[in-house]
């Protein structure tokens, strides 16, 4: 059975996930420090990884954001055919995509990869995609996605969730509705409770 949830039901996944080729983990030292991504501690993606990424010639492909940005020109007609989706990891900066692609709605699917359950950056990214960058198509979470994130993901603008392979997506569905009436405005329900109902 598929482990993909779209909106409030189990759905099939038609997309092919394209991953960056793995590299030998060389820890580059610089002035005695491991080179880190910004302040958050992740390693950066190398140019060879980007050029070596193999993109299937046909069908719906979900590309790493860095690969899309670097090889954008060669992907134009597939984008026009709605065959290109984008995935990014939680430490990557959305701004780098926005700089080259003003209209995110050219992508039918954007997905955010969360490596660890405890990484809450995914919520801010969802929020920014929906509220700041006007993205309206499918927004998916994948990686270490378990049912106890779903309510927060939904409220942060996600509508699609690929539940981790060893868990039951059907059971996870109910967690989308853990709470009936949230206090604060967010992406799905924009208004805080005091603007929605009259509280005495």
């Amino acid at each position: 059975m598929s482990n993909l949830i779209y909106q409030n039901a189990i759905a099939t996944d038609d997309w092919t996930l394209v991953e960056l080729p793995k590299i030998e983990k060389v820890v580059r030292m610089q002035a005695g420090k491991v080179v880190q991504f910004h302040l958050t501690g992740e390693s950066t993606i190398s140019a060879t990884q980007i050029t070596d990424t193999v993109i299937p010639p046909n069908g719906l492909v979900l590309l790493p954001m860095s690969v899309y940005i670097a090889r954008k020109a060669s992907l134009e007609n597939r984008v026009a055919k709605q065959e290109v989706g984008i995935w990014l990891a939680t430490h990557e900066r959305l701004e780098t995509l926005i700089e080259v692609e003003a209209d995110l709605n050219r992508f039918p699917l954007i997905t955010v990869f969360v490596e660890r359950f405890s990484d809450g950056r995914i919520f801010s990214l969802g929020n920014l995609l929906r509220t700041r960058y006007g993205y309206n198509n499918t927004l998916r979470a994948f990686g270490d996605v378990l049912r106890d994130q779903l309510y927060f993901l939904k409220r942060s603008g996600f509508d699609s969730y690929l539940i981790r392979a060893d868990r039951n997506a059907q059971e996870a569905l109910s967690s989308l509705n853990d709470f009936t009436r949230p206090y604060q405005g967010a992406v799905d329900e924009k208004l805080p409770v005091w603007r929605r109902v009259s509280r005495k």
């Binding site: 302040l39 992740e42 405890s118 929020n127 994130q149 409220r155 604060q184 805080p192 005495k200």
Partner: protein, 558 residues
């Protein structure tokens, strides 16, 4: 105080159901230990040395009699008949059973309580001044805003899994009693030139391994924008705070790495998008919440009360208690009372179920059925008539709640430490007890005067040792327990962090070390000078010299 409507009630009821299911999944093996961890932590459940510890939320420290009776009952039925009041104004149970937590939460929900976000990497309990609403020097009562912020932060979807814990404190007095500069976000409410409520915002304060006082990020924020401005701050932190090293994950590290000016620039950039979005607070909403904190139905009383004055004149013990444990009040003829949870030789902040029932009854009888928990780990009756103070004292005294040591050396702030906490380097409670016994003579204690002594069992600084006039930190040296002593810390508007006096001490040396610090003070003080002022005037050197000189003499005798 704030009363739930059906929306609040439904939310905590749904939380109980959610957590019950999470516990079930853990017990059936569907969730691994590691996967259950963030879930239980967000609900205040730690796995400690001997048993789990459950931290129950007491939002900004306010409790009703009914709630305290319930806490007493829960401690009796599910624990060992006592609870521990923490420096976060919360209550902790040290011996509950993991599989019974859902039932405890269901009990709490019946009195409008919960354990939501009392731990874990999320926005924690909002704290404030224990004298909010009644302090004579108060400019703005911060409790309505604290409640608005509490609701906003509860299950905030974007900030459910932050890099690290996140603490917000609010205050509305000239003399800060909520230690706002020691929090991830600190907010001081004041009236601006146009007589409108405004907020001075600090960011990036905190104790722990790298103690830093907060920096001012905004001198003047209109109150309507409190939530959206916090969203901007927490978003910058959520996206850019470090997640690779939990010791470097607090917002203070990010603020320090970027510098306050760059951090402010990034926050302002975010806020330009968030300002005036629907989470902007309306007059109506603030008024709705504020009506729960309306002025109590006080009697019109004269400033003085003859029978009270007579009791003070005739009873030295009562007079000593009044001096230490009774505090000024906005309302004529009323006083606030601190019930000390620091009797000498007992774990600071602990209260037995019996004591909780007594306090709940006292609150019902003499203080409009409400009470407060202070971050100094005592309980407060906020609205007692002068004429009732003697009766309150007698009952409190009969139950060990009237030690006249508030603000004195034995009113020790102390974390649970090595007796309970699995992160501890060393025990803290026995050190507190030994020091209390060393200074058990009340006359001497009063002569030493106001002094704050804070103890933490490890770098995490739950006992706020960095801002104690005397701070004690448990350290581990080759597997044995040692104590590092520092002096000169202070909370309040002129806050400072303490300096270490030198190499650490063994547990049995500690009462003697504190004694020698006090000896230097007694010897050197000018009239009217408090311990902290003497330290500030003289610096660490004379204290250090005396403490270690004594140590050397002892050593040379061996």
């Amino acid at each position: 105080m704030y009363k739930y409507d059906e929306i609040d009630q439904q939310l905590v009821d749904e939380r109980v159901a959610q957590y019950r299911d999470q516990t079930r999944r853990f017990l059936t093996g569907e969730l691994s230990e590691e996967e259950f961890r963030p879930l239980r932590l967000q609900n205040g459940l730690y796995i400690q040395r001997h048993a789990p510890m459950l931290r129950i939320a007491v939002p900004y420290g306010m409790l009703s009699s009914k709630q305290l009776h319930k806490l007493a009952d829960i401690a009796e039925r599910y624990d060992r008949s006592y609870g521990h009041f923490s420096t976060r104004q919360n209550m902790q149970l040290n011996w509950p059973k993991l599989e019974q937590i859902p039932d405890i939460l269901a009990e709490l929900a019946t009195v409008e309580m919960h354990a939501i976000q009392t731990s874990g990497n999320c926005i924690r309990n909002i704290t404030t001044d224990q004298f909010a609403g009644i302090a004579p020097d108060e400019v703005v009562d911060p409790r309505a805003m604290a409640e608005v912020i509490r609701q906003w932060s509860t299950f905030h979807p974007e900030f459910a899994l932050l890099p690290r814990k996140f603490k917000i404190a609010v205050s509305g007095t000239k003399q800060d009693r909520a230690v706002v500069q020691m929090h991830d976000i600190g907010m001081e409410f004041y009236l601006d030139g146009a007589n409108k409520v405004a907020i001075k915002v600090w960011v990036g304060g905190g104790l722990g391994r790298t103690p830093i006082l907060g920096s001012v990020i905004n001198e003047h924020l209109e109150w309507q924008h409190a939530l959206t401005y916090c969203e901007a701050i927490v978003r910058v932190y959520n996206l850019h705070g470090r997640r690779d090293n939990s010791y470097k994950a607090r917002i203070k590290i990010l603020v320090k790495a970027l510098g306050i000016d760059e951090f402010r620039k990034q926050v302002d950039a975010e806020w330009s998008h968030l300002k005036d979005t629907p989470n902007t607070i309306t007059e109506e909403e603030l008024a709705r919440v504020a009506q729960h904190f309306a002025v109590m139905p006080y009697d019109n009383l004269p400033v003085n009360n003859a029978s009270f004055e007579a009791e003070v004149a005739n009873n030295a013990a009562f007079a000593a208690w009044v001096k230490r444990c009774v505090h000024a009040h906005k309302q004529s003829g009323y006083r606030a009372v601190t019930l000390s949870l620091k009797p000498h030789g007992k774990a600071p902040g602990d209260a037995s179920s019996e004591q909780m029932h007594v306090v709940a009854d006292l609150a019902a009888q003499y203080s409009f059925g409400e009470l407060r928990v202070s971050h100094e780990q005592n309980l407060i009756l906020a609205d007692v008539q002068l004429g009732n103070l003697f009766a309150v004292w007698q009952q409190a005294r009969a139950h060990g709640l009237a030690t006249p040591n508030i603000g004195l050396l034995t009113d020790i702030i102390c974390c649970p430490g090595g007796d309970f906490c699995s992160l501890a380097n060393a025990k803290s409670i026995p050190i507190a007890e030994a020091i209390q016994m060393q200074f058990d003579n009340l006359d001497y204690l009063h002569d030493i005067g106001e002094l704050e002594l804070n103890i933490s069992g490890c770098m995490n600084a739950c006992g706020h040792h960095h801002v104690g006039h005397i701070g004690i930190l448990g350290v581990d040296k080759d597997g044995s327990e040692w104590y590092q002593v520092s002096i000169g810390g202070k909370q309040g508007n002129d806050a400072s962090l303490s300096s270490v006096i030198g190499p650490s001490f063994a547990a049995e040396e500690m009462p003697g070390v504190v004694q020698r610090l006090i000896d230097v003070y007694i010897d050197q003080r000018t009239p009217e000078e408090l311990f902290i002022d003497t330290v500030r005037r003289l610096g660490v050197a004379p204290f250090k010299a005396h403490v270690y000189a004594a140590k050397e003499t002892e050593a040379s005798h061996v």
